[in-house]
């Protein structure tokens, strides 16, 4: 696959910026005013001092001379003030803009991620990936302040100063413009080009280093036992050396850029002074204007100062954009929703020769699965962890496309079912329970936004959490903490069960429904679950059935899943327990 160009990488994000064009223009303008004031302040001050000196000399020589001190004095005061005020305004306004982008970016990316399938999401649950995602978003939201406004403002400042000087001496204006534009061009393209590879690699280096360190920490026991900690440390150090090699290169490159800006601005000042001196000697300009010229050039330096570091690290922004673009592409590939409705009542299910392969895996995760479930029946799918039970659930819930085979739910091919109908008629309680920051009520209402407070209490009563909830000082409004951390594992699981109860599904898939619950709770919940499942179809995913209290209720038949293959299917004459 050919490398996407820098422009095509950034284009989707620049589009997002373009929606706030007015803010960008105004922010850039404020920044430009700041720099123009700096130029004006120094240049006018130089002019004023020289004019004063000349007038003073003339007066001392007894000549009739006068200088209007009020206009330049006022101008100097004005520039001093406008520089401060516009700087403050610019910083505040532009940070506001950046924060608005942040909101846009997060909203957009979240929308993309809600379309990802189970496999992409599983990969992305890792905290490492999430950290990188936030870092990438932060990199992109500062794009405007680092890479868009500064070069634009620097260009404007250079052109403005050159044009101002050209009013008196066109040649001088052209020479200054040529020198400063060379510096500008080098900073925005040369630095970026040289630093591209290294700055793009940095994230990968850091990522790899973090991965190796996690290995080192998690495998400390084995490494220490085999006395190979030093051996593994060397691998880590080699990775650190690769990281530092690129960091050193980038720092030197950025330092070079900074030095080059100052040198070029200095030399442009020198050229302006030389040319202005020649013109002054020929009486083409006044002495005061002659001094104004090099000082105006000197003051341009500040406008160029931000560019070297920002553009040396352009590759980092590019890398961030590439990763986010890949995420957007992954979100687009999922187009599984159809438009067919589902029948009411318990749903039938059939899987016909279904296989699932993950890229990079030696064996398919699921291989030739044939399975049928009549409406109202309850199947226990038994298998060790890693046998493929969760994959079966993900396939039925249309959270993964099968590599082969067909799945039919309620008589409708799975791919043709309308999204809303599928979600309303199919309930899945996975191994992981997701509770969100927010109140208990908000977490329950996830299942039924319109549910009344009474029905929320009923749902809690159903999972025997109502007494506990009534004791809480804030009742239903109690915050559950990030990821539900304020709740115990068992409580979180029961909240998740209560969420299911608030809906009216025709097929329920429960992955170890009683995991993490104590015996007393299970004895209370089991008959209630049994009753609720009456008139619905159900699939239980379990490690084993041992005929004890923790077996899910009313299993009508059993299937064993071993290493991605269904081995034994058996009808159970009598419901267990």
């Amino acid at each position: 696959m050919p490398e996407p160009s820098l422009r095509s990488c950034l284009a989707p994000w620049l589009h997002l910026f373009a929606r706030r064009r007015r803010r960008l223009v105004l922010g850039t303008l404020l920044l430009a005013i700041t720099h123009a004031s700096a130029v004006g302040l120094l240049a006018l001050s130089g002019w004023f001092i020289t004019a004063s000196a000349l007038t003073g000399l003339a007066l001392a020589a007894g000549l009739a001379a006068s200088l209007d001190v009020y206009v330049p004095g006022g101008g100097i005061r004005f520039f001093a003030l406008s520089r401060t005020v516009s700087r403050y305004g610019e910083r505040l306004y532009n940070h506001d803009t950046v924060l608005r982008f942040l909101a846009d970016l997060r909203g957009r990316l979240f929308a993309v991620m809600t379309r990802l399938d189970e496999r992409s999401l599983a990969r992305q649950r890792a905290s490492d990936w999430l950290n990188r995602l936030t870092a990438d978003i932060d990199t992109l939201d500062s794009l405007f302040l680092r890479l868009l406004a500064p070069p634009l403002v620097a260009l404007l400042t250079v052109l403005l100063v050159a044009a101002l000087l050209a009013v008196w001496l066109p040649w001088l204006g052209i020479v200054v413009a040529a020198m400063l534009l060379f510096a500008w061009g080098w900073l925005t393209t040369g630095q970026a080009w040289l630093g591209m590879g290294a700055s793009r690699r940095l994230v990968a280096h850091l990522q790899r280093l973090r991965g190796q360190l996690i290995e080192h920490l998690q495998g400390q026991a084995e490494l220490e036992a085999y006395a190979s900690q030093g051996w593994h440390r060397q691998r880590i150090e080699a990775q650190e050396a690769r990281l530092q090699f690129d960091q050193r290169f980038l720092a030197r490159l950025a330092g070079f850029g900074v030095a080059l800006v100052n040198l070029t601005v200095g030399l442009a000042m020198l050229a302006a002074l030389w040319l202005a001196a020649l013109a002054w000697q020929q009486d083409a300009i006044s002495g005061a204007v002659m001094v104004l010229m090099p000082l105006a050039v000197l003051a341009c330096g500040e406008a160029l100062a931000l560019l070297p570091v920002a553009f040396t690290h352009l590759g980092a922004t590019r890398g961030a954009a590439e990763r986010l673009n890949a995420l957007v592409r992954a979100g687009k590939t999922r187009g599984m929703a159809g438009s067919e409705p589902l029948p009411a009542g318990p749903l039938s299910l059939s899987l016909c020769n279904v296989s699932l392969s993950y890229p990079g895996a030696l064996q398919p995760a699921l291989h030739g699965i044939d399975l049928t479930l009549a409406p109202g029946r309850r199947l226990a799918l038994i298998g060790a962890s890693g046998a493929g039970k969760s994959s079966v659930a993900a396939l039925i819930a249309r959270r993964l496309p099968p590599s082969e085979g067909e799945i039919v739910l309620g008589g409708v091919p799975l791919a043709q079912i309308e999204e809303r109908a599928l979600r309303e008629r199919l309930a899945l309680l996975g191994q992981r329970v997701d509770l969100f920051q927010g109140s208990l009520a908000a977490n329950l209402r996830l299942a039924a936004p319109q549910a009344s407070e009474t029905s929320l209490w009923q749902a809690l009563a159903w999972v025997a959490l109502d007494e506990w909830a009534r004791q809480l000082p804030h009742g239903l409004e109690t915050p559950v903490g990030e990821g539900g951390r304020a709740l115990s594992g068992g409580q979180a699981r029961r909240v998740a069960l209560a969420r299911l109860w608030l809906r009216d599904p025709g097929l329920v898939i429960l992955d170890e429904p009683f995991a993490g619950l104590d015996v007393d709770t299970v004895t209370r919940l089991r008959p209630r679950l049994d009753a609720w499942l009456e008139g619905r179809s159900a699939i239980y995913l379990v490690h084993q059935l041992d005929g004890g209290d923790f077996d899910p209720p009313g299993v009508s038949h059993v299937a064993h899943l071993v290493q991605g293959k269904l081995t034994v299917c058996a009808n159970r004459g009598h419901p267990s327990g």
């Binding site: 004019a51 990079g360 071993v562």
Partner: protein, 559 residues
């Protein structure tokens, strides 16, 4: 912050690391001072050339030497500037490397048990991101801190020599500098802490929703959640703007000072030259001295402005250092064992106990001896301290009381439920146990661990890369890979912590078969387990009670 008396102050710890790179940091500061000197020289030459042209009516041609000299100064200044960046960065790179090594050494000294108490993701974050967060402090802030004193003093000296009244303007500003420094510092600290808290809250909210996307999909609530993510970010914007309004004021004040200094000096010099001021040295101002004072006035404040820009680096480094010192303050393992002089025993625990912080005593007091070539099953309810017993035998942790005695030069192998898979080839993963092993030895070990068929299936044999971006192994395969490492090692004592806990029956049977082969080689195996098949293998059972005490009767396997 200094609640723990044994913990060094973050600032001191950073200073100690800076002292280790004194050479580069001094070079950076010297280069920075050279930039200051070159700036003064540049401005002086500029003012002198202008003065010669205008006051002395010199022709530009006569001043060729001065122009050349100015060009030379500009080049020198650029070189010094580059040198400052390079030297500062070099110091920072070396310090970061040292800090990372210090942390890793400490973690190794803590041992797998104490270091393992911590979340490895959090530790890795500390070793990577937090160490990287020290960069700005050493590369830029520290050199700039010295410059913020030296360069203004240099400029003040020059201005004093030119015109004491102008110097007085700057000097009057000088006592204000610490004041504004404090203001800037407070602003930055406030920006940092408040903003940091707000950012992490927002990121927390965002990540919370991202983690739960699967659930949102299942309940068909993704559209609402997306709108909510946007709303939360916008609320955060409004909140943080309130903070920023204040925080930016401090930098605005510095900006104001730099601007006003130019304006005041320009007007003072201008009026002095016009002869409007007949007080003090104003009458002696010339175009040269006046222009030079004007050009130097902004440079007087420049180092301070740069320092203000790098102030957040300091806060970030102090925050990172504080967290690192918590880790470094954790006491390391003492000597874990004494030599054992015995014909038959490999390792012995004598009345050893172990407690974990917050959980109290997990095992002991108990005495165990393991003889060469025997197979011991450690059994007991979960929480009985079976793992702790193995860890004590391995020397991963020092017993609180009692002793561990081992035969000198004893080789140990370890295997638990989560075998280490390193990012690299299959061969790398095996050589971890025996760096010198030949390819055929590796193949043999794989064969014995019942992984021969995997080796055949792999596209590039021993060189196949495992893990992310390579071939993924199942839990059972990973476990057998770890077993292959045991075969490869010369360890005579093999400690296994629930080696078959997460495996299905088939795989379990294979692992048990391999373990039998290990025992047949004459290695001593100590296995913590619930599985009957493994218990049956053992020549002897060591049963622990729920309280971590040995059951009175040591059962024989055939009993």
């Amino acid at each position: 912050m200094n609640d723990d008396a044994h913990r060094p102050i973050p600032r001191r710890w950073l200073a100690a690391h800076a002292a280790g790179q004194r050479g580069w940091l001094t070079l950076a500061a010297l280069a920075g001072v050279s930039v200051g000197v070159a700036t003064v020289a540049q401005m002086a030459l500029l003012a002198w050339i202008v003065s010669r042209l205008i006051i002395d009516d010199a022709a530009p041609g006569e001043l060729g030497g001065a122009f050349a000299l100015l060009a030379g100064v500009l080049v020198l200044r650029a070189l010094a500037q580059w040198g400052q960046e390079v030297a500062g960065q070099e110091a920072s790179l070396r310090i970061r490397q040292r800090v990372r090594a210090e942390l890793l050494d400490h973690l190794a000294a803590l041992g797998p048990v104490r270091a393992g108490d911590r979340h490895s993701g959090g530790l890795a974050n500390q070793l990577v991101e937090q160490v990287e967060a020290l960069d700005g402090y050493f590369a830029r802030f520290l050199p700039q801190l010295r410059l913020a004193v030296a360069v203004p003093l240099l400029i003040l000296g020059v201005v004093l020599w030119l015109d004491w009244l102008a110097a007085l303007f700057l000097l009057l500003a000088a006592p204000l500098i610490p004041l504004f420094m404090a203001l800037v510092g407070m602003g930055a600290a406030r920006l940092n802490s408040e903003q940091f808290a707000a950012v992490s809250r927002l990121s927390g909210h965002f990540l919370d929703r991202v983690r739960g996307i699967a659930t949102l999909q299942l309940f068909h609530r993704t559209a609402e959640a997306t709108a909510e993510v946007h709303r939360a970010a916008d609320r955060y914007r409004q909140l943080s703007l309130r903070t920023l309004r204040v925080a930016f004021l401090s930098s605005a004040v510095l900006e104001f000072f730099a601007s006003v200094a130019i304006a005041v000096v320009a007007i003072y010099v201008g009026f002095g030259l016009l002869g409007y001021i007949d007080y003090g040295p104003a009458g002696e101002l010339t175009l040269f001295s006046g222009l030079l004072i004007l050009l130097l006035a902004p440079e007087f404040f420049q180092p301070l402005r740069s320092l203000a820009q790098h102030y957040h680096d300091r806060a970030a480094a102090l925050g990172a250092a504080d967290a690192m010192l918590v880790l470094l303050a954790e006491p390391v393992r003492g000597a874990t064992s004494r030599p054992l002089d015995s014909e038959k025993d490999l390792a012995v625990l004598k009345m050893a106990t172990l407690s974990h912080p917050g959980r109290g005593r997990v095992v002991g007091p108990l005495s165990v001896s393991v003889q060469a070539g025997e197979v011991v099953a450690v059994i007991g309810p979960s929480g009985a301290g079976k793992s702790a017993l193995l860890q004590l035998l391995a020397g991963f942790v020092t017993p609180d009381t009692g002793q561990r005695l081992v035969r000198p030069g004893l080789g140990i192998a370890w295997l638990d439920q989560r075998p280490l898979l390193i990012h690299g080839s299959l061969a790398d993963n095996l050589r971890l146990a025996a760096p010198e092993a030949s390819d055929s030895e590796l193949c043999q070990a794989l064969e014995r661990a019942r992984l021969g068929e995997l080796l055949v299936a792999l596209p590039e044999g021993l060189d196949t890369r495992l893990g992310e971006g390579g071939v993924g192994l199942s839990g059972g395969q990973a476990q057998r890979l770890a077993l292959a490492r045991v075969f490869l090692s010369r360890a005579s004592l093999v400690l296994l912590d629930e080696p078959t806990a997460s495996l299905d029956e088939d795989t379990e049977a294979r692992v048990v078969e391999s373990l039998r082969a290990l025992a047949a080689e004459g290695r001593a195996l100590v296995i913590a387990t619930h599985h009957p098949a493994l218990m049956a293998m053992a020549g002897r059972r060591l049963s622990l009670t729920a309280a971590g005490l040995p059951n009175d009767v040591e059962e024989g396997a055939d009993a």
